[in-house]
Amino acid sequence: MNEKPLPRVTALTRPFWDAIQREELHLQRCDECSAWVYYPSAWCRACYSARLTWTPCAGTGSVYSFSIVHYPQSEAFAADVPYVLAIIELTEGPHLMTNLVNCALDDVRIGLPVRMSVEARAGGFKVPQFEPAQRSGRQATPL
């Protein structure tokens, strides 16, 4: 448990992870009713259509809720405390759980505008993270 976890990548989820490796956020969107679908799914959760298309998202959103974690879940996260576990509301609507990174703890708040960044884990595999859209004291670099 000393390495941070990696996902199992399946045929269903591969397009999501392939896009993340290119530092892009793609989610499925329903061809019938235009609903965004997350997690990757074989059907639309709004209308149950099976016609879904992987579609780029803006990679922006805001903090919907969060917790500042002082006691690590496991050894893999021990070096990160305090770390922020957050629910991000994407501009497109879906909620994702990630960490909030590159953010002073005093600045963490509900409604904080955020944008996607990536974190490289074992073998260089990238997972999505979110950080403040305007980074304090530094010029933000676009994705």
């Binding site: 448990m1 941070k4 976890p5 990696l6 996902p7 199992r8 989820t13 997690y39 959760r45 919907y64 809720s65 969060f66 917790s67 500042i68 974690v69 002082h70 006691y71 690590p72 879940q73 496991s74 893999a76 996260f77 990160d80 770390y83 576990l85 629910i87 909620h95 994702l96 759980m97 990630t98 960490n99 509900i110 997972v127």
Partner: protein, 404 residues
């Protein structure tokens, strides 16, 4: 996300008071290092059979909750068959079921429905549990089940920061403060001081300052906002009114019950304020023909100090956003007008892992039976018992009462 479309007919087939909790027994919470999982169930059975005039021959139904779930592995999902064999009985209604902390409330509901339908006469509901030590990898193994293993799990979640998502959002929307959360822990400790079995009784009273000064775990929760992990277990016999009256002059009748499941991942919950407990409570009130004003006392699953703040709202005791004020006013504390968690709660009685959802049922039933000793509240004609599993994913509400 669609609400189930069937609202009205859901509760009509169950006659209120067609079943009752006839007998309850619970182990003193603590550590039982010399018991393996199976022996902990046996300890519960021995206590139950010694405290009540029940013969195994009175038991024709047996529902068990699996142990080991809190650590992310179940040691035996056939435990109901083993316990039936160990008791020398051949039940006609039996299974091992899991809905996390709601398991035990749902066992009582399933048992009451079976008794009301004539499928069984006496259904023993049993649980034994140990709460794994967080450091031993239990937190990660458990989190892998409590949230999506390939998405949410990647970010270091465990039970505390997952619940905290709901608390942070609720506090943001309602203006509730950490002091108000702390008042739940303080009130619950005050109840524990009146319960000789409560784990934290020896520690004496708590103050709001103690809670705020305790070690931060995951905001907004400090150590003393969290329940106390331990081992334990309990048994509850749900019986027909005739059998119940033979065993106990004042059984706790099941007047109403409700159940709701709303999400698997807290990140995907569409409403962090009005949660499944509110849906389950509405069903239970409708079935019982009662309103929140009829409730004399409530036992509300309190894995964290926040949860009874939210759930006095979701149970309909106060309007939206006023949970914090309920605790400010001391309404749930000893001497308050709506006693809450009269046994000391998971916060100060102890959280027995896989058996935790039993503690509030046992207490609710004891209060109705008039057997709660020095902490007996009056009047105790109607009690509400709410429990939930996973990250407030699955909810059970029971309304227990004296009248048949």
């Amino acid at each position: 996300m669609h609400e189930s479309r069937r609202a009205a007919p859901l509760t009509n087939s169950f006659r209120p008071a067609a079943a009752a909790i006839a007998a309850v027994s619970e182990l003193k919470p603590g550590r039982y290092p010399d018991c393996d999982d199976r022996e902990l169930y046996h300890q519960v059975l021995r206590k139950f059979l010694s405290e009540w005039p029940v013969s195994p021959r009175d038991i024709d139904g047996l529902l068990a909750s699996p142990s080991g779930m809190a650590a992310g592995v179940s040691s035996n999902i056939f435990i109901h068959e083993h316990l039936g064999e160990d008791l020398g009985i051949r039940p006609v209604f039996s299974e091992t079921i899991n809905a996390g902390g709601a398991t035990h409330g749902l066992m009582v509901q399933r048992a009451a429905l079976a008794v009301a339908a004539g499928r069984a006469e006496g259904v023993l509901c049993i649980a034994a549990g140990s709460f794994p030590k967080v450091r031993e990898g239990g937190a990660a193994a458990n989190a892998r089940m409590a949230c999506h293993p390939d998405f949410d799990f990647l970010y270091g979640p465990f039970i505390v920061p997952l619940y905290a998502q709901a608390a942070t959002r609720y506090m943001h929307e309602s203006g509730t403060t950490k002091e108000q959360l702390a008042k739940v822990a303080v009130a619950t400790r005050a109840w524990a001081l009146q319960n000789p079995d409560a784990l934290m009784r020896e520690r004496g009273p708590l103050t709001v300052r103690d809670v705020l000064d305790s070690r931060p775990i995951a905001s907004p929760f400090n150590l003393l906002d969290c329940s106390v992990p331990c081992d334990g277990g309990a048994a509850v016999l749900v019986a027909s009114p005739a059998l119940a009256r033979r065993l106990n002059p004042q059984p706790a009748f099941v007047l109403g019950c409700g159940e709701a499941h709303t999400h698997a991942n807290i990140s995907q919950a569409t409403d962090l304020i009005r949660m499944g407990g509110a849906i389950a409570a509405e069903q239970a009130y409708r079935m019982a023909g009662l309103t929140p004003a009829d409730i004399n006392l409530a036992e509300l699953y309190d894995s964290f100090s926040f949860n009874p703040v939210l759930n006095v709202e979701n149970m309909g005791f106060v309007p939206r956003g006023e949970g914090g004020r309920f605790w400010d006013a001391g309404r749930g504390a000893p001497g308050g007008d709506l006693p809450i968690n009269t046994y000391g709660g998971l916060l100060s009685f102890g959280h027995t892992g896989d058996a935790s959802g039993m503690s509030m049922i046992v207490e609710g039933a004891l209060q109705i039976m008039g057997r709660a000793g020095g902490r007996q509240v009056a009047p105790a004609k109607v009690a509400l018992v709410h429990s939930y599993g996973n990250i407030m994913s699955e909810h059970s509400v029971l309304i227990l009462g004296r009248q048949s």
